[in-house]
């Protein structure tokens, strides 16, 4: 068995003060792990701590040396009014367009602000998901996606995992998490 890409043990993260309960998990190459829990429990903060933006107040975080992380946040990139097309976006993160759903593949030359909200969100997500990375952290990726978009996202996650990346997915979409993830970790389980 290969060594995990990243491991946390009793990790407590936050900003000015701790906001997450202690969390232990490991993520291996080729694995999709779902991170679920109630609103405000600190799931997004936990992802930020893994990238070194949020502070670690307690516990341990071990990352494989040279690990390349990619993080998609819930904030939509500010594309409005910018002369950017889909190809620009993929080039920016180094993502490949291979495997892009047909309903987006032929719109790569369109300005991003001329796409629908769902198309824009999927493309913004794709730019992170298909960027060169060992670990991909996704925060509520199914937001703004219709049924077809969610299905394509599931396929894309499995494909990325099949290529050897480790994926950590924060989501409220229980059906999506149950369908796509190999393991599910409950944040705040047993919290008073």
């Amino acid at each position: 068995m290969t060594a995990p890409l990243l491991v946390t043990e009793g990790l407590v993260a936050g900003w000015e003060r701790p906001v997450t309960p202690p969390l232990s998990l490991s993520l291996a190459a080729g694995e999709i792990v779902g991170l679920v829990g109630p609103n405000g429990v600190g799931k997004s903060t936990y992802l930020s701590a893994l990238t070194g933006v949020a502070l670690v107040f307690a516990g341990r975080l071990d990352k494989r040396p040279g690990l390349r992380l990619a993080l998609q946040t819930q904030a939509t990139p500010p594309f409005g009014g910018l002369p950017l097309c889909g190809s620009d976006l993929l080039k920016l993160t180094g993502a490949t367009s291979e495997g892009l759903p047909p309903w987006l593949a032929d719109k790569l030359g369109w300005r991003l602000d001329s796409l629908s909200g769902g198309q824009r969100h999927f493309l913004a997500l794709w730019a992170v998901l298909r960027a060169p990375a060992d670990v991909i952290l996704l925060d509520e990726p199914t937001n703004n996606l219709d049924t077809a978009g969610v299905a394509h996202l599931g396929d894309a996650l499995r494909r990325r995992a099949g290529e050897g990346a480790g994926l950590l997915v924060v989501s409220h979409d229980h059906e999506f998490v149950d369908t796509v993830c190999h393991r599910i970790v409950e944040v705040g389980e047993g919290r008073p």
Binding site: G52, L71, Q72, A75, L92, T93
Partner: protein
């Protein structure tokens, strides 16, 4: 038209041409960062710096660029305390107040003050041409190198930080480069001329272009075309250059707005 080819006019023309290419490109990145007001502010600070330099018998470019760079460093220090465009508004007011007071109180500064605010290209000389060409040769490759980082840090700040890339270096590097170029440009084109080239071409390009590269090309071409046309018109009609440039760019901008197309 033959007077255009005399060294008296050719030298200022070439100096302005350097910035007619550079400023619209920098304007695209300032607009990306929603910092176009910064150009207006730093142009005023640079004007004040040049007038200060004149008072102390120092090179004008040194005074203009020096004060603008100091202002950019101070702005970065207090950026977290001043939200939105407050820092730039304060810089703009300070620069304008200092420039006007110096112009009013230093007899020698009156002519320079008017040139800076009217944009007459009066003070263009051979050393300034060399500095302008150096600006072009240094700033273009640096901007090209910064480009992807500037886009990434603006659109995907979390992705940027996840790669452990220091955003402050990108911000500071671009700030200093843009301020230095803008300050030197202000010495030749004047405050409003420089601002017009930073603001108008990117404004039109952002509305019209279908990709980032096309936006840059469109912006640069509009800046160059507008500049050449304005220079010839100002010369033929014997009008101050700065206002003519602003009018020409605005007219071209209105004609050029917008017809979105898809890139391939």
């Amino acid at each position: 038209m033959t007077e255009f080819f005399s060294p008296i006019f050719l030298q200022p023309f070439l100096i302005g041409l350097c910035f007619a290419l550079l400023l619209p490109l920098f304007g695209c990145y300032l607009r990306l960062r929603d910092e176009w007001l910064a150009a207006f502010a730093y142009a005023h600070v640079a004007a004040a710096g040049a007038l200060c330099a004149m008072a102390f018998e120092l090179p004008l470019v040194l005074g203009g660029a020096g004060l603008a760079v100091v202002a950019a460093l101070l702005k970065r220090l207090v950026a977290s305390r001043l939200a939105g465009g407050t820092a730039y508004a304060l810089l703009l007011l300070s620069g304008w107040a200092a420039a006007v007071l110096l112009t009013s109180n230093l007899p020698m500064a009156e002519r320079l003050g008017h040139a800076l605010f009217d944009g007459q290209l009066y003070f263009a000389d051979t050393p300034q041409l060399v500095i302008s060409l150096a600006c072009l040769v240094v700033a273009l490759p640096l901007l090209a190198w910064l480009s992807r980082h500037l886009l990434l840090v603006q659109l995907y700040p979390a992705f940027f930080s996840a790669r452990q890339l220091p955003a402050w270096r990108v911000h500071l590097g671009f700030d200093l480069l843009a301020v230095a170029v803008l300050a030197v440009a202000t010495m030749s084109l004047g405050v409003m001329g420089a601002f017009a080239l930073v603001f108008v071409p990117p404004w039109v390009a952002f509305a019209r272009a279908s990709s980032w590269r096309r936006g840059l090309v469109f912006s640069a071409l509009l800046g160059l075309g507008g500049y050449v046309l304005a220079f010839l018109l100002a010369l033929q009609l014997d009008q101050p250059f700065g206002p003519v440039l602003a009018v020409v760019l605005i007219a071209l901008g209105i004609v050029g707005l917008p017809n979105r197309r898809h890139c391939t």
